[in-house]
Symmetry: C2
């Protein structure tokens, strides 16, 4: 804590002058680079403290690192994302890296802009969570800063992938519902906006797996899917649509907890009790799913581990790794009170 000049920033030159050394020396100390004597290091450190100097990230960006990790999040409402970020923060806490977050917004266009913003701000690494821009764009972008893509089941030679085994997760849910005796099980998924890579998107995998398991149990005629979005509003619309069908499903598997919350509202409006009249399951095992008044059966995919791993992979890439890594977590089912045997009759 020292007095800081209010108009002009303290620069590396000020520090150098104050310590009576060259700017190079200061720069080296800052980056703990090779070739500084302990004595020099001490003098520089002292000068830095006295002047309250902080490196100007923007200036650094022109030459070297910014010590910034950029994160793209589809939105800020999905309560699963903070789990991922907690993991990431945990891994980066001991480093000099700072995380900045941008949101992808409503469509691929705004998402592209958000990713570009990260690149233009010269982040040292990027974590793209469930991106919906075309794959080619991802590869292009990953040609710049080291990139980890979280979500899609795609293997790439240029970026690392962190993902949940959504096939296992979806299978767990559908089998669970079938095991309870349900036959008319419906699904709320996310409509593509993703030309050319639908098959790799986690929401597609959850939906496709749902259909596969239904078929494997001879329930192909009961398949009912509403494609909206993984949001509260999407869940609401999806449930409304599914409730309009006849005969009505006895269970709904929402591809995300957030969508399940929206479905809950629709069910309530329709006067249906959960699970007495309708079972409901989600995905992500967000903290809110555990709330006793909701008690939503869900799939846990350990966002903390995913975030921590993403952080590790990013730092590894920054340090020079060029080979590509794929990391997958295996989800588990967390049965709660929102699922039960279907009503008799």
């Amino acid at each position: 804590m020292t007095t800081r000049d209010r108009r002009r920033r303290v620069t590396i030159a000020d520090v150098a002058r104050h310590a009576g050394v060259s700017t190079t020396a200061v720069s080296k100390v800052l980056r703990s680079a090779y070739g500084v004597s302990p004595a020099m290091r001490e003098r520089v450190r002292a000068a830095i403290d006295e002047l309250g100097y902080r490196p100007h990230a923007a200036a650094r960006a022109m030459r070297g690192r910014t010590y910034t990790i950029g994160v793209l999040l589809p939105d800020l409402r999905n309560p699963f994302f903070p789990d991922i970020l907690d993991g990431l923060y945990g891994h980066l806490a001991a480093t000099d890296y700072q995380v900045i977050i941008v949101t992808g917004g409503p469509d691929a266009k705004t998402e592209t802009r958000a990713i570009d913003a990260l690149v233009d701000r010269q982040v040292d690494g990027m974590l793209l969570v469930a991106p919906r821009v075309p794959r080619a764009r991802l590869e292009e972008v990953a040609g710049g800063p080291p990139t980890v893509v979280l979500g899609p089941h795609e293997k790439s030679a240029v970026y690392d992938a962190v993902l949940d085994d959504d096939e296992i997760g979806a299978e767990l849910v559908v089998r669970h519902l079938i095991g309870l005796g349900h036959r008319r099980i419906a699904h709320i998924g996310q409509r593509e906006g993703t030309r050319g890579r639908a098959a790799a998107m986690l929401h597609t995998i959850r939906a496709v797996t749902y259909e596969r398991v239904m078929r494997e149990h001879g329930l192909e005629d009961e398949i009912a899917v509403a494609l909206t979005s993984y949001s509260e509003e999407g869940g609401y619309r999806g449930a409304r649509e599914l409730l309009g069908r006849s005969p009505r499903p006895t269970a709904i598997f929402a591809g995300a907890d957030l969508a399940a919350f929206g479905a809950l509202t629709a069910l309530h409006e329709a006067g249906l009790a959960v699970p007495a009249d309708m079972s409901l399951a989600g995905y992500d095992n967000t903290r809110l799913a555990a709330l006793s008044d909701i008690s939503l059966t869900s799939v846990d995919q350990d966002g903390g581990v995913m975030g921590r791993t993403a952080g590790r992979l990013l730092l590894e890439r920054i340090e020079g790794r060029t080979s590509s890594v794929h990391f997958s977590v295996t989800p588990t089912l967390v049965p709660r009170r929102s699922t039960a045997p279907p009503p008799p009759g």
Copy 2:
């Protein structure tokens, strides 16, 4: 969409060469500055499109604007914050400004680091949501980029303030509960971490107002406050603490919906039904509070308007305003099923 060089960025010099003009001209077109002929503008624009040029924000930072608005959020879990950001995005959508978000983390130290990160990245403006660093630090920081502080009831000459009239909000809740017949009304608040500015913090105002209204109704002996934090976990701990008291309260006013959610878990564990055994109210009127299974009585403070206003004030400051503005929204009560008359006896 054009081919972009994979190794080297397209720079302003490339564009200038391609268009057969000077870099100055390109720069002017980019910033729609004064003194470019329509013909020149056209040629430059064409070159920009052909080359797929994007300004390098980090380089811009060295001289002029970064077209970046930095937002500090205490955390990413509070579902009220996205409401604020939606408002902000709405206001900035038509501009060239990009929003980057950092989180304040667990304490004032990490928050200071987060704010510094924004400053060091040379943002053109900052929105600090419910900051907990000392007021002096805020004033110091606001001496740099234009700053809007959202939350604290502080007037400053150097930054703008956007806030909710928390006194009215808290009063609405407590009066509502008293009106229902409750006397033993407890409060879950946030423990200070904020040396020297407690009185201005919104959580303090909610707590103090609670006590004042209780006193005004002759209920000073029934005052019971648990200070934890505005988080799920904090609400859980707070409720546990309050339930341990004897006689037990018949209603709890949580200072934030998120804390109310946590309280819900504690109440359930204790085998108490809401509102039959215990009424519960929150603050923020988050979307989740409206979920029928929760149906939480809450206070609406229109985060959208707050965010939009913050955006407007920021742009005004960037354009040169130096006088200080204070903007306050008036909250309203949204009664739902979580509050009802106390159990008889």
